[in-house]
Subunit: 279 residues, 2 copies
């Protein structure tokens, strides 16, 4: 039996990011054009699966909900995935949250407070563009919290995610892996294209200067928080077309495995037909 993409992309511990090729095309054979064609075709199935998930949620018969967590350095493609992959399904079934620097109100609470409030409702596909992992990434690198608090957070994240998956949540965590050279190329491309200047922020380079620290923080987060029910996937993201294909395929695989059925009518179909015929 062919291995699932889910298992092929799950990180193995201990995590050493330098051993992963950002331009790998794990689980895919073909060229860019093939991947784009396959992704478009996948859109049809994904769209059907999403509608079924939505229907089941609406019927109130299941707590199933999906959450895609996207993490990665600037330019790794979080926005690109939301646009090109989750953009394939009905936007009514999506709940997208882009986590920014916490507000003063958010800082008054535990770091998971703002995240909990954005978890998807039954039937929905939630997408986190950055997430609670920032609190052990920039949190660690910039020392926004003390070492003990950072240490506590890995366990708190595991507990939080377990509560989510135990109650019918499906968690798909994707680390979009690029190298410092990949990022350089993409930042330069932004600077070279006036229609992309708005996406660039000089502060991005301040973070880039801490590249190695971020890689260490990522490796640690992936290692400490990859669990059986909520594994971390490392998605090689040096090639945008593979990255999009891979996340689309992961999502399709997960939704397909739910083997969802259309909800049965909770009313008498024939009686309703008769009633309608007379109106």
């Amino acid at each position: 039996m062919a291995k699932t993409l889910d298992s092929l992309l799950t990180v193995t511990t201990p995590v050493d990011l330098s051993t992963y090729d950002s331009r790998a095309t794990t689980g895919f054979s073909g060229e860019k054009a093939d991947a784009e064609r396959q992704l478009a075709a996948m859109g049809e199935e994904l769209s059907d699966l999403q509608e079924k998930l939505f229907a089941v949620g609406r019927a109130g018969t299941s707590q199933t909900r999906v959450l895609v967590v996207l993490q990665g350095m600037d330019t790794s493609g979080k926005g690109g995935i939301i646009r090109h992959v989750t953009g394939l399904v009905d936007p009514q079934g999506l709940a997208i949250t882009s986590f920014k620097k916490p507000t003063p109100e958010e800082l008054e609470h535990d770091f998971l407070w703002r995240v909990e409030r954005r978890l998807p409702q039954p039937g929905m596909i939630g997408v986190f563009d950055r997430s609670h992992y920032e609190d052990v990434l920039i949190g660690r690198v910039r020392q926004l919290a003390g070492p003990e608090e950072i240490e506590r957070r890995y366990g708190a994240i595991n507990d939080f995610e377990k509560a989510f998956t135990d109650s019918g949540g499906i968690l798909i965590k994707c680390f979009l892996h690029i190298t410092a050279d990949d990022q350089k190329e993409r930042l330069l491309a932004r600077l070279d294209d006036p229609t992309k200047h708005w996406k660039y922020n000089p502060g991005d380079l301040d973070e880039r200067m801490l590249w190695d620290d971020y890689q260490r923080a990522y490796a640690l987060a992936l290692e400490r928080c990859s669990t059986d029910d909520a594994p971390w996937h490392l998605v090689p993201s040096g090639r945008k077309w593979y990255r999009n294909w891979a996340v689309g395929a992961l999502l399709t695989e997960k939704l397909r495995a739910l083997e969802l059925e259309w909800p049965k009518a909770d009313y008498d179909v024939e009686a309703e037909k008769a009633r309608l015929a007379g109106m």
Copy 2:
């Protein structure tokens, strides 16, 4: 100069819904396949326009935001438009709200309270699946408020919408016009298809029994709340392909008219390139 679709679809007062053909294809010449092809092609432009709107919003240089209000009887296609038209753009730029029966908390406030909170932020395209108009539609038909309060609401809506458009909001109000026969056909189709049973609710027929009352309430709402800055468009919706094309074309027309420019960099592009080259 060719008339805009905007002007072609704007209701003229007094409004008599019985004079509008639900199967008209105003402003469009061609067949179903042409409309679907045109809509797909429109997706490219719409997607670019939306990204520019988003960029301008992100840059903080403009308060421009768009709100599409969708109203219509059950099966008129509010969900279909969200899926097939707004689904053409990046979901990150959409803020979709589906208004249901008000919660007890919402009922404690003025009817506009819950609507105000869901207005789109600068750069976003908001979509209302039902809206504040329900408070003068089902509100009137089911007498959920007294006659004086209902009367007051038309003016309150006009003031509310004026504040929105005066502050840079673009309002696109679409009444999806179908006949009772169109609805009967679509409800029967839902009952005939087990994959659509979840979309049907026996309560839908209770509302259908009040068809004429709803038509009167709609005519009144369209008449009282169609203003120069926020006109009501009557979108013939007996043909789904025309309905989707028309709303897509309206949205494209409005966004195009904004003549948005990509935001200029607020940093020194060459200096950033030099800085990046050294990293």
